[in-house]
């Protein structure tokens, strides 16, 4: 009896642990790659001339000064390679649970450890096209 309960709790624990693993390794993150003048962690970094950024095994992106590009990655551990202004920096980094991160390429090139930070997404202001808010059982029409 007790043994059965023990095994069940163990299994439950395994499922929970597995779920946490799924959550973190499957979490999608949007990385906003900026080549803008930015203040990250108290230090200001100036925008540089065009940089080329490679995240994990995705295609390299070229970002001109003042511009921003975007990549979507999955999971916790990533690698980023930036080359610009004659300098190449490669870094491995870990992402916490947020959805979106603002990444400053100039800060990264300068070697600043605080080169990315979580960004709270704004509520989407886009016009909502779903006017159909009530979904009746199909076909039924009741007059008011």
């Amino acid at each position: 009896m007790l043994r059965k309960l023990f095994i069940r709790i163990l299994l439950l624990g395994a499922v929970v642990a597995f779920s946490v693993f799924l959550f973190s390794s499957g979490k999608g993150h949007t990385l906003l790659l900026d080549n803008k003048t930015a203040t990250m962690g108290g230090h200001e970094h100036a925008a540089v001339s065009a940089v080329t950024v490679t995240v994990d095994s995705l295609k390299p992106v070229k970002i001109l000064p003042g511009e921003r590009d975007l990549v979507v990655v999955k999971g916790v551990h990533h690698r980023i390679t930036v080359s610009g202004a004659g300098v190449t920096v490669e870094k491995r980094f870990e992402l916490p649970f947020e959805d979106m991160f603002l990444c400053s390429m100039p800060a990264l090139l300068d070697g600043d450890d605080a080169w990315f930070e979580a960004k709270r997404p704004e509520a989407p202001k886009a016009a909502d096209d779903s006017n159909k808010e009530e979904v009746p059982v199909a076909g039924e029409i009741l007059p008011l």
Partner: protein, 377 residues
């Protein structure tokens, strides 16, 4: 003697044969090429087989067609909504949705089984209505509580009024993830290998399950509840377990279905689930008391074949694709009606025969079939 064997075969498989004939007639009318149809059928097999297979176990347990698989579908959708909200991508998203959906399906399956136990003899109607009822609760949760009482992080999923999930949830993060896990292409035809492997695994599970003690119990209950009870099998509990298994499988089946489609119609995706799966199974030659894996396989192919070609065939034949669409509806409903009629008719025949045998002495009372248990609808 040979003639009666052929005629018997024809009668027993009338529905399937009719469908084959209809399909053969409609395909050239529709104008679709065979390679296109072949690819479409392969895709749809991967998409729908799991759901149809989830119907088998309740039939084995004598509970008829489980219209309550809609409950499992809803559970799976809740899982998918949460996973989309948390932005979990890839296989992790699918697995997490399945893990979330499982306890919900178990709970809903338990409710369904219990309610069906209280309505013995009317299981099918009851599960049918229960599906609508739980749909109401589902809408209550998803359309009103989510976004307000239940926090939703990703506001893009929420309706403009501030709460309630939008009508269509784009499952871009997990789109075709299972299908493309093991991509296979033979002669220009794409085969979702991983999905097929999962379906094969389910088939093996069903075969194995029938041989286990629980499976045998289930079959005994399906044969005759009274005898099973006398043999010491916990009939009520076994029936509930059968429904729970069916509901959980339907949950996974719906997830597989939706990952292939790539879009979740929050309030509509699940409503046709039960109907289409049941129609497909019946077309494949299953009945209310007997269903096998080949029934599911053949049924999905035939049903979806007609599904694809009827609009265009209708257009060719009568100049209106809409008619083809209504025709398909008519056939789907008609098939279920015919199967139910055949089943009821056969059952009455059996009862008549056994009654006339016993009419000699101590005839049972009309209205009570065999023993305490009344079979499925």
């Amino acid at each position: 003697m040979n003639q009666s064997k052929t005629t018997r075969f024809l009668i027993n498989n009338a529905v399937t044969i009719l469908f084959v004939i209809l399909s053969i007639m409609s395909i050239p009318l529709s104008g679709y090429s065979l390679p296109y149809l072949f690819q479409e059928i392969l895709t749809r097999l991967g998409r729908n087989m799991f759901l149809v297979l989830s119907l088998l176990i309740p039939i084995i347990a004598g509970m008829g067609l489980n219209f309550g698989i809609v409950l499992g579908a809803m559970a799976g959708q809740i899982g998918l909504i949460l996973v989309s909200d948390w932005n979990i991508l890839g296989m992790q998203g699918i697995l997490l949705a399945a893990i979330i959906g499982t306890p919900i399906s178990v709970f809903l399956g338990w409710i369904c089984g219990s309610v069906m136990n209280r309505a013995k003899g009317r299981e099918m109607v009851t599960s049918y209505i229960l599906g609508f009822f739980i749909d109401g609760l589902y809408q209550l949760v998803v359309l009103y509580l989510m976004g307000s009482l239940i926090p939703v992080l990703n506001r893009a999923l929420v309706l403009s009024r501030g709460y309630g999930i939008r009508n269509a949830v784009n499952l871009v993060g997990i789109r075709q993830v299972l299908d493309n896990l093991l991509p296979l292409q033979i002669a220009g035809v794409r085969i979702p290998l991983a999905t097929y492997l999962v379906i094969a695994a389910l088939c093996l599970f069903i075969v194995w399950f029938r041989k286990t003690k629980l499976g045998q119990d289930l079959r005994a209950v399906g044969q005759d509840m009274g005898t099973a009870e006398a043999a010491g099998i916990p009939v009520e509990r076994t029936r509930i377990i059968a429904i729970i298994i069916s509901t959980v499988l339907a949950c996974y089946g719906q997830i597989i279905f939706l990952q292939n489609l790539g879009t979740l119609n929050t309030y509509n995706s699940h409503t046709q689930t039960g109907m289409f799966a049941i129609a497909a199974l019946l077309i494949g030659g299953a009945s209310v008391v007997k269903a096998t894996i080949p029934n599911a396989f053949i049924g999905v192919i035939l049903f979806h074949l007609l599904f694809i070609v009827s609009p265009m065939a209708g257009k060719e034949l009568v100049g209106s694709a809409q008619i083809g669409e209504y025709f398909r509806q008519f056939i789907s409903f008609g098939i279920i009606a015919v199967a139910l009629v055949l089943h009821a008719w056969r059952r009455r025949n059996e009862a008549e025969q056994s009654r006339s045998l016993l009419r000699g002495g101590g005839a049972r009372q009309e209205g009570q079939s065999r023993t305490a248990g009344i079979k499925e609808d």
